[in-house]
């Protein structure tokens, strides 16, 4: 996969050598222009109708004869696209054809093939089947024009008409749409590059976008760092950064039944708790939550914190069951330790983790009384999912066009047997260093009791060249577990399954199969023959051309910021600190606010996390996991969180919030004071928060409200502007 990546950069290099050299001349950094070309869908001459013909006419060369025709549903059609520059291996699955009908419903047509035209290599012929694959709406009646556009790497082409069953109908062309006729020579559109106003990585929009994906929010300091050293060196720095910056909470293991002096007894006379915060700190996730947010606000190893958070949102355990903070800390330590390690080690460590063992019942699953909870979820939720996937994450289909199950109940039963016989680490001696008499040991890995292990032969996952499909009888349970984890790890679904989820958490909710495939390829082989190298996977996710670029225009690109990211991003933009006057760091106590937005951190309601990776947004019919928790109620709570932070603060001085949390608006206030037109204020916020995507219309709307405040109130103006940006859907959706 290294070769593909170097090919990518070589191709971009050749395409943009002029720009690249310009950048090179002022710095020695190695990141080229991140912007891909914007595809252009070719129209009929002097018309807003897509140039299109049947596949058998493809390449006939006589395009002037194709005119104004309609195509039957489910037929195949060739569309023509230019202004592309493909990597080796980049094919049909890098493209999406988005369709809107006269009723405003959205569809997606599958792209079956892409070829260059002989002798006119700057033209690409896209073979498309006129059949919706989103499946959200009943397919439109074939009775008139629909609008089609082509998206590639998050960039959308112009939209043109296509006769669907018939031509005509009531659909309206886009405002400002113009014909884009067949170019006789290559089109040379310059990509949207920025002036060389600084050394290093000069793409300011992409710097901010990158930091939204790789951290808990851009800060001026990080932006400056990346501007100087570029993305790749920054990634290497992060891979080696010490973690955590703030030490993990460290509370002792406690008995399952809380003792009277740790709030276990509420009937009078209730003995005082020792210390007074005993119950809160040991029997709730409070210290983990505050630590988590402090690390997000101030930690140096941002990328590891971010990836560990993503991993913990599909390898889920929850404070709903795992009641002690020390359990969750032991679990999170495994997530962070393995975030840049090998995925197979992560599988092993979590399988043996007592918190997971308790959460999904493996710790009480025995030969005679098996429990299938962990066996099912390690397949369904953590590693392979329900259906066989292609390497680009798309579903494999059988001869009847049905998805192919990855396993059945019998498989679950067999894995259940594999995972029997494990118990908490309670032996005296070196193997259980954290053992605490009287308290269950939820820190050290579980130990096998072979007597409780089911030693029958087992049949595990079957797949082409399956590893360890059959497990012989009478094996040691530990040996068997390793064989079974390998059986899962080498399943072909693991790479696309894990890659897609991580892309969704870091970059975009509905990645193209090509993007998933490129990341899965790295998962399968990091270039040195190693499978499961998460460092390489994360690098590929963040440097992929579908992730990078100053601006993304594909209407289906981006992701709703989950509550954690919305909160930390907003606070980090403006120097998050303790409550006013803010002379110290925040105490990190913002979980009540984040919880009200639908994400009670470390208390996922179920093993399915706060939201499903497969959640489909009603209306557009797109994958949008975080929309699973965006409701009328949480939408307003998000707005109210912004209001609290911009116009007020989270007060300090209480037991749970000794220091409080506020943001520092002095710089924005000074900008508003220095320029009574407020243009500089809005332009700065546009760069800082919107990476330059604020439209003239957005700006005019915000400006009206800003100027409704007198110029003598620069703080009020700064607040109004920040409130309006942060509450806007344009900001709440990370693009």
């Amino acid at each position: 996969m290294m070769s593909v990546k170097s090919l990518l950069w070589r191709q971009i290099l050749s395409a943009y050598c002029v720009i690249f050299l310009a950048a090179f001349s002022v710095s020695a950094q190695q990141d080229p222009n991140p912007d891909s070309l914007t595809p252009i869908l070719i129209s009929e001459p002097d018309s807003l109708r897509a140039l299109a013909n049947a596949p058998d006419k493809f390449g006939s060369g006589n395009f002037s004869k194709i005119k104004n025709r309609a195509f039957e549903p489910n037929s195949k059609v060739v569309l023509y696209v230019t202004n592309l520059d493909l990597m080796a291996d980049e094919g049909a699955n890098a493209f999406r054809v988005n369709v809107e009908d006269a009723q405003g419903r959205h569809y997606r047509f599958p792209v079956l093939d892409i070829q260059r035209l002989n002798g006119q290599e700057w033209i690409y012929a896209l073979t498309v089947e006129l059949r919706d694959i989103l499946g959200f709406h009943t397919q439109t009646a074939a009775e008139g024009d629909v609008l089609v556009s082509v998206a590639w790497r998050g960039l959308a082409s112009n939209r043109l008409r296509l006769g669907f069953g018939a031509t005509g109908g009531t659909i309206k062309d886009d405002t400002g749409a113009a014909p884009s006729p067949f170019p006789k020579t290559p089109i040379k559109t310059s990509v949207n590059s920025e002036p060389p106003n600084a050394v290093g990585y000069l793409y300011s929009g992409d710097r901010t976008r990158f930091l939204e994906q790789a951290t808990f929010g851009p800060t001026p300091a990080l932006d400056e760092r990346i501007r100087r050293i570029g993305l790749r060196i920054w990634l290497e720095e992060q891979f080696n950064a010490q973690y955590p910056t703030n030490p993990y909470p460290d509370f002792p293991l406690m008995p399952s039944t809380a003792p009277p002096d740790c709030n276990g007894n509420n009937t009078p006379p209730d003995p005082p708790d020792v210390p007074a915060t005993c119950s809160r700190d040991r029997y709730t996730m409070y210290p983990v939550q505050n630590w988590f947010f402090k690390e997000a606000f101030y930690g140096n190893a941002q990328l590891k914190h971010r990836v560990a958070w993503a991993l913990g949102q599909f390898w889920v355990i929850s404070g709903v069951d795992t009641q002690q903070s020390s359990y969750m800390v032991a679990y999170h330590q495994l997530l962070s330790k393995n975030a840049f390690g090998n995925y197979r080690t992560l599988m092993n460590d979590i399988t043996l983790n007592p918190g997971m063992g308790n959460y999904l019942d493996m710790v009480r699953s025995t030969r005679n009384n098996p429990n299938e909870n962990f066996a099912r979820e390690i397949l369904q939720l953590f590693n392979i999912g329900l259906f066989m996937l292609n390497q680009d994450g798309t579903l494999q289909l059988d001869n009847n066009n049905q998805p192919i199950p990855t396993y059945d109940q019998e498989t679950v039963n067999n894995f259940t047997k594999v995972f029997t016989g494990w118990q908490l680490c309670e032996t005296t001696g070196a193997s259980c260093p954290n053992r605490t008499p009287g308290a269950p040991n939820y820190k050290d890995p579980m130990l096998l009791n072979q007597n409780n292990h089911n030693v029958q032969a087992k049949t595990l996952l079957d797949y082409p060249n399956a590893v360890n499909k059959n497990i012989a009888a009478n094996l040691n349970g530990n040996v068997e577990m390793q064989l079974a984890l390998d059986n899962i790890f080498y399943h072909p679904n693991v790479a696309p399954f894990v890659s897609r989820i991580l892309i969704q958490h870091l970059v975009t909710s509905d990645p193209t199969p090509a993007y998933v495939g490129r990341v899965a390829g790295v998962f399968n082989n990091n270039g040195s023959g190693v499978r499961g190298d998460l460092k390489a996977v994360v690098r590929q996710i963040l440097l992929d051309p579908e992730a990078r670029g100053n601006v993304k225009t594909d209407p289906n690109y981006g992701k709703l910021r989950e509550p954690v990211q919305l909160a930390t991003n907003l606070l980090r933009h403006f120097g998050v600190r303790s409550a006013n006057p803010g002379t110290s760091q925040s105490d990190g106590y913002i979980n009540p606010q984040v919880s009200s937005m639908g994400q009670n951190t470390f208390y996922s309601p179920t093993v399915f996390n706060f939201y499903s990776p497969d959640y489909v947004v009603p209306g557009p019919g797109l994958n949008g996991p975080e929309f699973n928790i965006l409701t009328t109620g949480t939408a307003i709570n998000r707005t109210n969180f912004v209001n609290t932070m911009v116009y007020s603060q989270i007060a300090g001085g209480s037991t749970n919030a000794p220091l409080g949390t506020s943001i520092n608006l002095a710089e924005m206030q000074a900008l508003a004071a220095a320029d009574t037109t407020s243009n500089r204020l809005l332009d700065t916020l546009n760069t800082k928060m919107m990476h330059g995507t604020m439209t003239a219309q957005n700006k005019a709307t915000i400006m009206t409200a800003v100027q409704a405040l007198p110029s003598t109130d620069p703080l009020g103006r700064a607040r109004a502007a920040i409130y309006l940006i942060a509450t806007s859907s344009q900001y709440q959706v990370q693009r």
Partner: protein, 498 residues
Amino acid sequence: MKQDRREFIKKSSCALGMAAIATQVEHFGLMSALAQKTDDGMDFNPPSDYRALVCVFMAGGNDGNNTVIPNHSDASLSNYQSYAAARSAQGLALAQNTLLPISVPRMNNLTYGLNPNLGILPPSGTTIINNGIHELWAQGKMAIATNVGTLVAPMTRAQYQNGSIRRPFQLFSHSDQVSQYQGGRADTPVYTGWGGRVSDLRTAPDNPGGLIPMITSINGAQLFTAGNTTLPLAIASATTPLAQVLNPQGFNTTAASQARLAAFNQLRTQDLGANYIKAASHITDQAMIANQALGSNPQEVTVPFPTTTIGNQLKQVARIIKKRGDLAVNRQIFYVQIGSFDTHNNQIAGQGNLLAQFSQAVRSFNDEMIAQGASNNVTLFSMSDFSRTLNPAGVGAIVGSDHAWANHMFIIGGAVNGGNFYGVNTSNGTPYPTLTMNGPDDADSGSGARGRWIPTTSVEQYAATLARWYGLPEADMQTVFPNYNNFLGNTNLGFMQP
């Protein structure tokens, strides 16, 4: 309840708290459908009465085998002894003298038993505020639909085993079985719920001018409530007053504040070509419209509710029902949820506690509906992921059970033909399954069979009986339930009065 276009626009722009912005209204699916219809000069003939369905989802898979139990010794059917034989050794059988008796006409008037936590509880632990739901059986206000589950088409054990009838996909998996229950379809994943699809079809005719969506969830976004063209209202439970659940804070009446509010609203009319932005804006729009309606004329319930999660959810539902006139709605669907039924361990205490919470909260809701004079207009029903294996998981105090299939559901309200079992007969000639591992109703086979009952009544049959009472025309049944025709002849289970 006739309403013309001008009045409609006036109401909706008021609701936005700003001068009329027609562009804003334009992209509400619900609103534009209404505006369109009035434009065509059509009169609405909305229903003259009020009806509401309240779905209580018992998340995690409530163990039906310990919810409705044979309490008789009739040897021709599974009796208490057959139940105890399967569960008592591991400690999962409930003692017979603790069961709450119910007489069941459909079972030859044999006695069955409810879990003891569904009735009068000892005054310890949680605060007990009423007698629970057991009494409603004798009052004829509570029915039980038995052996209900996800099906693609009716299926015998032989057909299940030989694969001649298609099985629901991913049986025994939480997420998929929840989706099939809530989606009303078991052969393929769906993106909308049956509640949402009813809302798509019935909002315009039933709730013209409704100021909130037809569906309200007090438990966040759920598949059940998702429609193609309509969105649910999702709000916090009764710990937050209705006037506060959707209120954007920080605005006052000064010109500058109003200008900021106008800009806040205006931004949601921009960049709608980007689909995620449009979707987020749409949800906030819905919230802003509903906020105006919910914020006025507060109503409080008069019956005490337990302060549990489910109690607070049902209390919020009751408040909204009390405000139904202000909200201009004739038909409403509600979704509430009680979680943690996934009792792989510690089931006796865990499920018992949850059923007590369920029973207390539902009884309060029932009594509040009577107090509001709405008992005959509101029907509460239960759903759950699946039932659990008859064969226990583990042993002793920690004993639990694993994921299974067919389950028993409660239907409660004044319009219910209560005091009986409903459903399609199993192989034993009654609607209650045979409690035998590897027996005639078990999906499992062989010596390792654990007792996962094959449903005889589909989710569709159960839901269609409810939807028909709600007012969904027969012609629309197949739109809402795509596999409806697979169950023809048995699509009205009879537990609702006409």
